[in-house]
Point group: C2
Chain length 412, copies 2
């Protein structure tokens, strides 16, 4: 690819300086697949050049992950070693370390393996790691999710290309949707403008403080979602507990808040597949009553979807409502990424599971147990799924007065 | 390469079944470079198939290692995180886990960086990890060192080839010197025969219990080495604390024991370069008096050699004396590997630093502090260097009677 090295360099700098916004003397933890170390290496270098104290890369390997789920006993899989807890305590609690996750999993990674075994182990390990989720969900630390192509993922997205072409094409799409230019100055400007535009939408929604929103589409979606009192629509940027700005997703196109846990009623039909625990779930829908999923079906991956909903009580309630225009750049690329970071930013979406406490004024100070009292859901999971049909209509209500928010899939 | 996959598979099985000899329910820790994960993956699979409870791969990346030494402060470099100590305590002390290190470092990795900074950090971290060395040095756990080609290493060994050719040629040399056949049965037989041959040499030496040995060569080597009472010449195989046999090096051609710490006198001239802390040391020699290095010089890497000798008091004394015929298969390959695992098995060698307590009867039960009393050296380091010239003559003495051991570089 022309200018590949230049763009990769700018991507790494953007992740460090604008994404997590590493400060002198801070630590940075990077999760990266071993298959493609180029971005993690450049990020590490950029972070050290910004004065980072220590950069630690947690390397992962899809091949080993699959072996683990296949061969390990349930007991061994459910376990979290004490040294892993210690490591997280140190870097989250003591160091408030920055986190960058390079998420590039093969969407079919765990296909054909025992779904019950996988679900149980993920649930049990999530319980043991639950105390750390607040560090990212409440924005106590700077965190960032980005992606780079791996071979199997690229072949899933572009099955008609050969492996090298698919990888190159996926790099290209990632650079484009992530607004990476050959000039770093231009890349930064792209992002500053983009964040401003998204913040304007959030400001509009926040100033109206809608009581509820009504989703309607010809595909069968017909859902009313109440919003909690003092809810906050958030967009691209956030602030960590030290007061430093950061941007947790690159790319990002969404404006999002949390629904009122018990105030969701109606039918919701997904428009894109969802990859969960290495399995693709497709053509699925939910029926909600008083916030809870009371019925669901999926043409593909239904067993995995069931395991997901059974993670805990909160997994059957919504935790996020997010607005993305049908004509967003990622959506216009017409690429189905099989990767939530991209697909969620191509479509209006919801998440089942834990709500971001930052979405209700003052809720970041509450314990997990207290979130209920302000209408926020808590769960071990937080899984986005896409509902933004081409004809989606969203109407906001304030004191029974109607305001069009989305029309024909785009901002009204 | 023809039959590459087959040989790789047999290499992995040999490492698991004959190398560390993994037993059902045990854990296996693998250290592997990310650049070439193929062997680590196959080893993990082979271990699970033998009933391993958990296989953990500690991935490393030369690129990041160099960044770390370049950018981190001395204080950060000297530190060992508590979770790393916990991890080692658990897997060494509680689980007696098997260890496989895939050692494939770029021989010039840390060239041009601050050697004092590197040496201090390695010394400080070694001190903090010292309590774990007995698990391998005393054979409490099964451990194994093997190698696979990485690009920079392969290009150092075969600088006239292009990168792919160099890597392929190095694979070929590794398979050959490691006695890997396309048949696993044949591979195992190769190793059983080889271990028997080496054990015969060790039995001969053990039955004589020489008081001292005298090294002489035209290159200037003229050294007398006293041996401790009740010394044991070891060879390829060993037994861990559970009584399971294992083979700690593949390849291996050596028969070795420990010298008497204070009983080494004379001049010792190296015949091959030594890679230490990512720097090549070459054309070097030592002068010993009562066991201690009292003078040394090196045409290349002298600063690094000095740092090595200054690691601690024990770094100036010998900890291993090893016999390898000049006509060993690795030596006959005429390849200079710039990797101790291979180069030490192509040449008679010594090690500066810690002695293997297994080389003196009953010494495995002694504390580090007590090793002195049986004539064994203790140190943070254990670094092999090669002295096996073509004309090397070694004479053993028992009660002043002379026995030829080596003549013209080979077993007499």
């Amino acid at each position: 690819m022309k200018d590949f090295e230049l763009k990769l360099e700018n991507f790494a700098k953007l992740a460090v300086e604008f994404g997590v916004n590493v400060q002198k003397g801070e630590d940075l933890i990077i999760n990266s697949p071993i298959e493609e170390p180029s971005l993690a290496r450049k990020i590490a270098k950029a972070a050290y050049e910004k004065g980072a104290n220590d950069v630690i890369i947690n390397w992962s390997d899809d091949y080993l992950t699959r072996l683990d789920y296949k061969y390990k006993s349930q007991e061994t899989l459910n376990n979290v070693y004490e040294h892993i807890i210690k490591k997280n305590e140190y870097f989250y609690e003591k160091r408030l370390a920055n986190r960058i996750s390079i998420y590039s999993e093969d969407p079919d990674l765990l296909n054909g393996l025992d779904q019950k075994k996988i679900a149980e182990s993920i649930r049990e390990r999530s319980k043991k790691m639950k105390k750390f989720t607040k560090y990212t969900m409440n924005d106590l630390v700077s965190w960032l999710v980005i992606s780079i192509p791996t071979k199997k993922w690229a072949m899933k997205v572009f099955p008609d290309l050969d492996e090298n072409e698919a990888v190159e094409k996926l790099w290209d799409e990632i650079f484009k949707t992530s607004r990476i230019d050959t000039s770093y100055q231009k890349t930064l400007e792209n992002w500053q403008n983009h964040v401003n535009t998204l913040n304007e939408k959030a400001d509009f929604l926040n100033s109206h403080q809608f009581d509820k929103v009504h989703y309607k589409s010809e595909n069968g979606t017909d859902l009313v979602v109440e919003l909690p009192k003092n809810h906050i629509w958030m967009s691209a940027d956030s602030k960590n507990s030290k007061g430093d700005k950061f941007v947790p997703n690159i790319p990002t196109e969404e404006v999002f808040t949390a629904p009122k846990k018990t105030g969701v009623n109606g039918r919701l039909v997904a428009v894109k597949p969802l990859v969960y625990n290495g399995v693709v779930i497709d053509e699925f829908e939910f029926e909600f009553k008083e916030g809870k999923v009371i019925d669901f079906k999926a043409k593909k991956g239904e067993e995995t979807l069931k395991e997901m909903l059974d993670s805990d009580e909160g997994a059957k309630y919504l935790g996020e409502i997010a607005l993305v225009p049908y004509d967003s750049p990622i959506s216009l690329s017409n690429v189905l990424f099989f990767n939530t970071l991209f697909d969620e930013n191509a479509s209006c979406h919801f998440a089942l599971g834990k709500a971001y406490p930052t979405c209700v004024k003052g809720a970041s100070e509450l314990s997990d147990q207290q979130l209920n009292s302000v209408g926020l859901n808590d769960s071990l999971i937080h899984e986005d799924f896409m509902v933004g049909a081409k004809d989606l209509e969203i109407i906001g209500y304030k004191d029974d007065k109607a305001y069009p928010i989305f029309k024909d899939g785009n901002w009204a």
